[in-house]
Structure formats: structure tokens, C-alpha cells
Symmetry: C2
Subunit: 228 residues, 2 copies
């Protein structure tokens, strides 16, 4: 009667298998990355308990993790909110992204297979489609997917982890800017990156990545400057 270890359960979706705090973490993380939460917005434990229909302890743990990630901010009193970035923060993020993500691009270049490159190209096509149709949410998801998928081939878990955290920091601001300025205006150097991957040229990949990061972040800087 114990079909606990039955095979079909492991096929794909195994919702009961992951603990509640993990599910809450993933959901909240997605909300932050893809912009359902606005910078400056207050995040309450009890609010999430109702919204996500989870218990208090899992929500609490998820929030602690996200604070540690830099995705949420502990406001000294007991309040938690989505951080809103200043120009200095963005400047630091630009430096960190450039060094870390360029290195990841280099490492991925010399390890990735041809098949995996085509998977990246497919993601980039979906990205282009999102840009063309002005689908902001799709743009954010596909853009993140492209970078994450690339880094997964760098065989560098620690650096990938750092990069992932950086994305959590500027995710909400990215959403604000692209919601305001539209998707068209964003630069996209992914074609250059794909070229570099196909040529197996690490330095070219790093250079293309640097331009993608710099132009994207500079765009956020401009967008937030308008907003003040």
C-alpha cells in the first residue's frame, strides 16, 4: 500500500515532495524577480501567509533566506520591504555583474555543447518574440532564463550563485524600468554572445557579456533617474 517510492511520482511534477518553505521561497523569489513586488513595497509575514496559503513558519524561513539573498531588506524595526536601489547601489552591481558574469561566460564558452547552444538560441528567440510583442513579463522571464541557462554550463556553482543573487537585487528595479520604458528600448547583446559560443571564443563571449550587462544596467540607471 505504500506507493511512496513509486516511479510515476518522480516523473516530473512532485509538488508534495518539496517542503513548504521551499515552495514559498520559490514563489516569493519569482514574484521579486519578475516584478510582482514593487521596490519600497512592504512585505508582511501574515500577508504572505494569506496570499500563499502557507503556515507562518515556512513563510518566515523563506523571508529570512531572501533577506540573506539581498532580495528583501530588513528595515531595522521589524519590518521587511523590497529594497529600492540608489545610483551607488547600481554602480556596485554593475561592477559585480561585469566581473562575475563575464567570467561565467568565459567558462561556459569552453564547456558548452553545440546542442546546449541551440537551446540558448531557442530561449533567445522567445525573448525576441516577447520584445516584439511588448510582453514585459515574458521579457523578464526569458532574459533571466538565458543568463541562468548559460551559467549552468560554466561548471562554477559558487560564481553562479553569486550571479543569481545579484539578479535578485535589481530584479524589481528592472521591472519598474521596463514597465515604464517598454521592452523595445532594451539592448540585447545575446546574438553576439551566441556567436562567441559557436566560435568557442571565450574572450569574445566575455566582451559581449560585458556589453550586455553594461547596456542593460545603464538603461536601468537612466530609467530610475527619470523616476527619481
Amino acid at each position: 500500500m505504500t506507493e511512496t517510492t513509486s516511479l510515476p511520482a518522480a516523473v516530473h511534477g512532485n509538488p508534495a515532495k518539496l517542503p513548504a518553505h521551499e515552495i514559498v521561497y520559490q514563489k516569493l523569489r519569482a514574484q521579486i524577480l519578475f516584478g510582482e513586488l514593487v521596490p519600497g513595497q512592504a512585505v508582511t509575514i501574515q500577508g504572505l501567509v494569506e496570499t500563499l496559503e502557507a503556515g507562518m513558519t515556512p513563510v518566515r524561513e523563506a523571508i529570512r533566506r531572501l533577506i540573506s539573498d539581498g532580495a528583501l531588506m530588513f528595515q531595522g524595526n521589524r519590518r521587511v520591504s523590497v529594497p529600492l536601489l540608489g545610483a551607488e547601489d547600481l554602480e556596485e552591481l554593475i561592477f559585480a555583474r561585469k566581473t562575475i558574469e563575464c567570467e561565467l561566460a568565459r567558462r561556459a564558452t569552453i564547456q558548452i555543447s553545440a546542442a546546449d547552444i541551440e537551446e540558448l538560441a531557442a530561449i533567445d528567440n522567445a525573448l525576441d518574440k516577447a520584445i516584439a510583442t511588448g510582453d514585459v513579463a515574458g521579457y523578464l522571464v526569458q532574459n533571466y532564463s538565458f543568463h541562468t541557462a548559460l551559467y549552468s554550463h560554466a561548471n562554477a556553482p559558487i560564481l553562479s550563485d553569486i550571479a543569481d543573487r545579484l539578479w535578485l537585487r535589481f530584479g524589481p528595479s528592472l521591472r519598474v524600468v521596463s514597465g515604464r520604458l517598454g521592452t523595445q528600448s532594451f539592448p540585447d547583446r545575446h546574438k553576439d554572445i551566441l556567436d562567441a559560443l559557436r566560435r568557442q571564443d571565450p574572450e569574445m563571449a566575455a566582451l559581449a557579456m560585458e556589453r550586455d550587462v553594461f547596456e542593460g544596467m545603464e538603461h536601468v540607471v537612466q530609467g530610475l533617474r527619470v523616476a527619481n
Copy 2:
């Protein structure tokens, strides 16, 4: 009669002011950084509940934070342990430390005051003393203090945060190596760093930092290679 905002309360020891989960986090963090926990060692919630005399919820939250920091490792099943690093991990850490901490050194150089430089020099003196007397724990504490104090003057909270996390990752391994090889053998480029600070030469500071980081980490690599 309301002395809620009275000065004496803020004088110094305000043990009731910080929440329990914060205290647990700090204690556990220190144990990891300064080596009371060995790489590979299992960490149990109930064990910490007894050891640290805290409730279950605060311990739980502290552990989640430290997992997110990379200081602890979630082993897939419900076990948590102190990670033990492989050669690839150290290689990544070397790259990350070099880029991040050198930049922090650069930024600190152009902002730090003469008085603060002397405070750093005082820490370095305490470090020398610990090395001379073979005080491993003191060495670890003072070495960490030196770097942290330096970075606090870089006016770069995000980069400092990243650097801090990196220290949590290799802290346990550093302890193992220095316990085995003694404190004498460790290189110390702090004098060069202090020189660069006094001359206000950012590139010289970055270079000295790079050597300090590289030699220190290389030493860990060698030490762990012996241990296998």
C-alpha cells in the same frame, strides 16, 4: 515617567534588544567562521536548541540564513552540514575574492582617514602577536577583523556583503589548515596593504590585496591537498 528613549538604555549592553534568531545567527556564524565546526560535520536543529539554549524557530531561521550564505549546506534529505571544499571550489573562491576584495581595497584607499588606517595597523599588530604565539583562534579572528574593517571604509555595502559571504564559505577549511600547519606558515601581506593606504595608492593596495588573497588561498589549497 516614560524613559523609553532614555540614554542609559543605549549605553552598551542591551541583550534584550536583538531578537533571538539574530543572536543565534551571530553565534552560529562565529562558530563557523572561527572554526568550532569542522567541515563535513552534521548540524542538527535540536542539537543547536540545546547548545545555544534557544527555541526551535530561531534556530531554524538562523540555519536557513546560513545555508543561503553558503556557510552551511543542505544535503537534499533533511540533513544540514558544514560544507567541505574541493579544489574546484577553492579555485572559484580565489577568483571571486581577488576581484571583489581588490576592488574593495581600491575603494577603501581613496576614502579611508589617517586615524582609521592606524586602527587597521593596531589590528594587524594583534594579528602579528597571535601568529607569534601560535594562537590559532586569535589569528583567525584578527585576520578576519582586518579585512572586514578595511572593507567597511570602502563605502560599498553590496560588494562588502559578497566578500563577507565568501569568508563564510572557506572559514572552516581555513581553520583546519591553520590548525594543522600552524600560524607561522601563513603569509601576511597586510604591511604592504597598510603602506599602500598611507600612500593613497589604490592600485598598489589592490596589488597587495591580490597577493594576500592569493597566497592565503593557495596555502589552503596546499593544506587541504595534504589532508585529502
